[in-house]
């Protein structure tokens, strides 16, 4: 009964993607006709200090995955003399995440308006949009929006860069690409959440974070008053993919409902005659693997961020939810994850470059049934060694955590592969979901 009630209660609540279904919303006149631009107008009628106060009282947190308070970051930046540049991170290298790209493709003016509000608040006059060069539709939409809204006050420049990019690299990757460097993350040299860029400083935000600003400024923060949890007001757009009946992009209220409500309610649950086996909640490996019994975790990042490390602790992440059913082998999943991480390693840190490649090779042997008796113990030992202490960014630790988490969730299945056996009847045929939500 409880589950049925919560499923019934959980529904989409659009703030970030409000108006995205409006035809031609990517055109400036249409965007304005539907209320676009009001947030920026109001922001510019206020002093930067008052804009910061409003965002602080609204308690907007960054949606890139770190969930830091945006207003506090801006206040710190202002105390350091302000930022010269706003860098919008649209890279999204973590598989399973495509939210920022959709926002850029379908709602580019909302993103640009948010970026201009941020620039006004921190005193920046230039905005750089750092994007994967192969996101052609998003680039085109953003370029058209930039041309349509050119102004003297703030310049906006698209910064396309070709992948591959390390996963979980953090904001320093976008800044390094702007410096003309390799796609390698740097150790944090920033002060007060600022990164050094050219001869000045930059503040980096994910596109989704900025997408909330127009609505917040237009309503003086009212839009967050009654929506979301106390720790994280507002909504979160979840990218639900994998083996569910209705995959797609769903924006739901934070603190209302559980992971189960999201997957089994809104996204339709498992396919007929299948059952949910596990969920990679924060995309690849930033969070413990959620098994079928763990799905009643509330969608409230504040509870996940428990510093005491309680049963709910874990990384809430940036909204990627990858769902596996009982046709999926966790060892095969771990192997594929390791290969993805090894392929995207930038090569700067030796433990990461060699460690992810070694894990990929060992897991391939395990999956193929040709592993030696001590291979599994070595895999776990290597995972335990790949901690943040030995790596410059989150790439290798994220790989290690994901593989370790899969092993911890399904130890018997990993052990069975040592004897050459896999109990799962894998189904790798082409499948068609019932529908795809917010597919454009």
């Amino acid at each position: 009964m409880r589950l049925l009630r919560e499923i019934a209660e959980m529904e989409e609540r659009r703030i970030l993607f409000e108006g995205i279904d409006t035809p031609d919303i990517d055109r400036w006149p249409v965007y304005c006709k539907h209320g676009g631009g009001q947030g920026l107008l109001r922001a510019r009628s206020l002093s930067p200090e008052n804009v910061i106060k409003e965002i602080q009282s609204a308690r907007l947190r960054g949606r890139g995955g770190a969930w830091r308070l945006v207003g506090d970051r801006w206040q710190q930046a202002q105390a350091e003399g302000g930022a010269d540049y706003v860098v919008v991170d649209l890279l999204e290298p973590d598989p399973g995440r495509f939210r920022d790209r959709k926002l850029a493709e379908r709602h580019p003016h909302r993103l640009l308006e948010g970026a201009r509000i941020a620039a006004h608040a921190v005193g920046a006059t230039s905005i750089f949009l750092c994007i994967d060069a192969e996101s052609l539709r998003a680039r085109q939409a953003l370029q058209q929006a930039i041309v349509a809204t050119q102004e003297q006050a703030t310049t906006i420049q698209l910064h396309p860069a070709r992948g591959p990019f390390p996963l979980a690299a953090g904001s320093s990757l976008a800044v390094e690409l702007l410096r003309g460097g390799r796609a390698e993350p740097q150790a944090d040299d920033g002060v007060a959440g600022l990164d050094r860029l050219f001869a000045g400083s930059a503040i980096v935000h994910s596109a989704s974070t900025l997408g909330y600003l127009p609505a917040l400024l237009a309503t003086a923060g009212d839009v967050f008053q009654t929506v979301g949890s106390e720790w994280a007001p507002g909504t979160q757009a979840f990218c639900v993919s994998g083996l569910v009946r209705r995959p797609g992009l769903y924006e739901v209220e934070l603190g209302r409902g559980t992971v189960r409500d999201l997957i089994e309610g809104i996204a339709g649950g498992a396919r007929p005659e299948r059952a949910i086996k596990f969920v990679l909640h924060a995309g690849y490996g930033s969070s413990p693997v959620l098994t079928a019994g763990d799905l009643d975790r509330p969608l409230d990042p504040g509870l996940w961020a428990d510093p005491a490390g309680g049963p709910l602790s874990g990384v809430f992440g940036g909204g990627a939810v990858i769902v596996a059913d009982d046709s999926v082998c966790p060892v095969d999943t771990a192997r594929r994850l390791a290969q993805a991480y090894a392929g995207a390693a930038c090569g700067k840190c030796l433990p990461c470059r060699e460690g992810t490649a070694w894990l990929a090779a060992a897991l391939s042997r395990l999956e193929a049934g040709t592993a030696q008796a001590n291979d599994l113990a070595w895999i776990i030992q290597r995972c335990n060694h790949l901690t943040p202490a030995v790596a410059l960014c989150g790439h290798a630790p994220s790989a290690a955590r994901s593989i370790r988490a899969l092993h911890d969730a399904f130890p018997e299945e990993f052990a069975a592969h040592l004897d050459g056996g896999c109990a799962v009847a894998k189904d790798l045929s082409m499948k068609v979901p019932d529908s795809i939500h917010m597919r454009y």
């Binding site: 999204e92 070709r162 994998g242 596996a324 594929r336 930038c346």
Partner: protein, 152 residues
């Protein structure tokens, strides 16, 4: 082993329109080096391939050592110089939704090189592939056959 090194003496013949676009990109940055990645993308998207002769041109525009430009370019995902290439996403969602079957079907088609990539960012509409940079997602056996037959 000299393979892959920039040819210091060779300089590409740069069309005027391409040069104008490159200068406009450089002018948008406070420091020319900032334009390095967009310039690499410009060369790759306009020429369809990368060779060392372009490194000198990009190096000159950005004030960056040639070897640095070449090293960064070679660490990026570069298109092959010849033949049609189809990138099939083999990320988890795509794998579970049938990427292997997509690869098998495409490998039956002559003169197409099938490349497995980590993620094309179309996870909810898996399986997905990119042909000549254009994304095709939500693939079904019928849709794939139609794409292979050129009926797009």
């Amino acid at each position: 082993m000299n393979q892959g090194r920039p040819e210091a003496a060779a300089r590409p013949v740069v069309p005027e329109e391409l040069a104008d676009r490159a200068h406009a990109i450089v002018a948008a940055y406070p420091e020319p080096k900032g334009a390095l990645h967009p310039l690499l993308d410009l060369v790759l998207s306009e020429t369809g391939s990368w060779d060392g002769t372009w490194a000198g041109w990009v190096a000159q525009l950005t004030g960056t050592p040639v070897v640095t430009v070449h090293g960064i370019a070679r660490s990026r995902r570069l298109p092959e110089a010849d033949g049609e290439e189809i990138a099939v996403c083999t990320g988890l969602s795509c794998r579970w939704m049938g990427a292997e079957a997509v690869c098998q079907r495409l490998q039956e088609v002559p003169n197409i090189r099938v490349v497995a990539v980590n993620c094309l960012g179309a996870c909810s509409a898996a399986p997905a592939m990119a042909r000549n940079g254009r994304l095709h997602d939500g693939l079904t056996p019928e849709r794939l056959d139609a794409l292979v037959a050129g009926d797009r």
